[in-house]
């Protein structure tokens, strides 16, 4: 227990985070490149086509993983927001800002690939149903958090405002998650289920699971890269950062 507390205490130090993450970056870069090439080859070349949708369903191999990250990133960000508001840990604000950028990009990918997939399957690019609309709201919340974090001259004020918006925006997460169950929507239900057998043939499911694992590795890599850059930017007047430059 004591060592765990110490670990979190150390995590809060930008200097320590920067040094430890420099070992993790190559690990996660290799993992995500490897898994992603495997998943892409399996999904695009080897997975059989769908009996109804033909080949257009292959968009699932980026649509579902990016949607997963768009939501996971928000859980992490909301947690960091609470940590920042209670303990004022500087590192929490730094990672929170990274999460806002990455989350916004992932939500953008989910929305765009969904629109492209919608055209051949539904017959329309866009529909204002509960799932699609709540995802669009998520995108705007991410953008708002990012904008707020940059909106104040004093960085702590911006971080505080962004953290509060991140907490308020948490309400949207269960809405996205259950929108297709609560209301009549055009979007179909979940393909991957934790409790039941998934509704996808195993030959098509396997590349999807690989792509999800790959995207999670990419997500960790992006968090590390963005947080490291943000640490260097905000600590550039500190001696330990100056010492990094020869």
């Amino acid at each position: 227990m004591k060592s765990l507390v110490q670990f979190f205490f150390k995590l809060g130090s930008p200097n320590w985070f920067y040094k430890v993450s420099s070992y993790l970056v190559p690990v996660f870069a290799l993992l995500s490149i490897g898994l992603m090439s495997w998943g892409l080859v399996a999904g695009l070349l080897y997975a059989p086509m769908d009996f109804k949708q033909g080949n257009s369903y292959r968009i699932i191999y980026i649509h579902v993983p990016s949607s997963f990250i768009a939501l996971s990133c928000y859980y992490m960000m909301a947690l960091l927001a609470a940590v920042y508001l209670i303990w004022r840990t500087k590192m929490a604000a730094i990672v929170l800002r990274s999460c806002a950028v990455i989350g916004a990009a992932m939500t953008f990918i989910a929305l765009v690939t969904g629109a492209i997939w919608g055209k051949p399957t539904w017959g329309t690019w866009w529909v204002w149903d509960a799932r699609v609309t709540s995802m669009l709201v998520l995108f705007f919340i991410y953008m708002g958090i990012f904008a707020l974090s940059k909106a104040y001259e004093r960085e702590e004020l911006g971080s505080k405002a962004a953290a509060i918006l991140a907490l308020v925006g948490t309400v949207n997460i269960p809405i996205i998650y259950w929108s297709v169950d609560w209301w009549f929507a055009l979007h179909q239900g979940a393909t991957l289920k934790l409790t039941e057998k998934s509704a996808m043939d195993s030959a098509m499911l396997f590349p999807l699971l690989v792509m999800i694992a790959a995207t999670y590795c990419l997500y960790v890599l992006l968090i590390l890269l963005h947080s490291r850059a943000e640490i260097i930017r905000s600590e550039q007047r500190k001696q330990w950062v100056k010492d990094l430059v020869k």
């Binding site: 508001l85 399957t121 329309t124 009549f184 929507a185 055009l186 509704a199 996808m200």
Partner: protein
């Protein structure tokens, strides 16, 4: 673990923000809940719950054997069902590729006095089941069924609630 009083106060603040935001949105969505449905199921339309003379959407399954194509080749008539009630739909235009009998569909248009939906838009509502064509064939044809375990048969996936 003992917490600094100031931090304890901030923790309460965090909880208050989350709870009040949840309560506000909960009430808002409760008040709006009917408007958040993309479409009406046929049984609600038959019961007169859908407005007449206003653009609405209806969603359900295309009833097997109900699709009639008119001589012009573009106008099509079919029945949308939720297995409780049926609504006849008339539509002129190009149908989406995935439009098929026994598959989900969402149509937009106006109800006329006869209770027929004069649609100007037809969207295919697909379900969450994915399988290769061979597996789908073997499901339709149990004689040819291979050893592969059949995936779940598409349920009434048009049902939102």
């Amino acid at each position: 673990m003992a917490m600094h009083p100031k931090r304890k106060q901030r923790l309460w603040m965090v909880l208050a923000i989350v709870l009040s935001a949840t309560a506000a949105c909960g009430l808002l969505f409760y008040a709006l809940s009917d408007n958040l449905n993309l479409f009406y199921p046929p049984s609600e339309i038959v019961q007169g719950k859908a407005p007449v003379g206003q653009r609405i959407r209806a969603g359900g399954m295309v009833k097997a054997g109900s699709v009639i194509r008119q001589a012009d080749g573009l106008t099509v008539e079919f029945i949308v069902t939720d297995y409780e009630a049926d609504v006849t739909v008339r539509y002129t235009g190009i149908l989406p590729d995935l439009f098929a009998e026994n598959d989900g569909v969402v149509v937009a248009g106006m109800l006329d006095e006869m209770g027929v939906m004069q649609a100007d838009e037809v969207l295919a509502k697909h379900d969450e089941n994915y399988m290769p064509p061979e597996v789908a064939d073997s499901l339709k044809n149990p004689m040819k069924a291979n050893k592969a375990a059949p995936p779940a048969v598409p349920a009434k996936t048009w049902q939102g609630k």
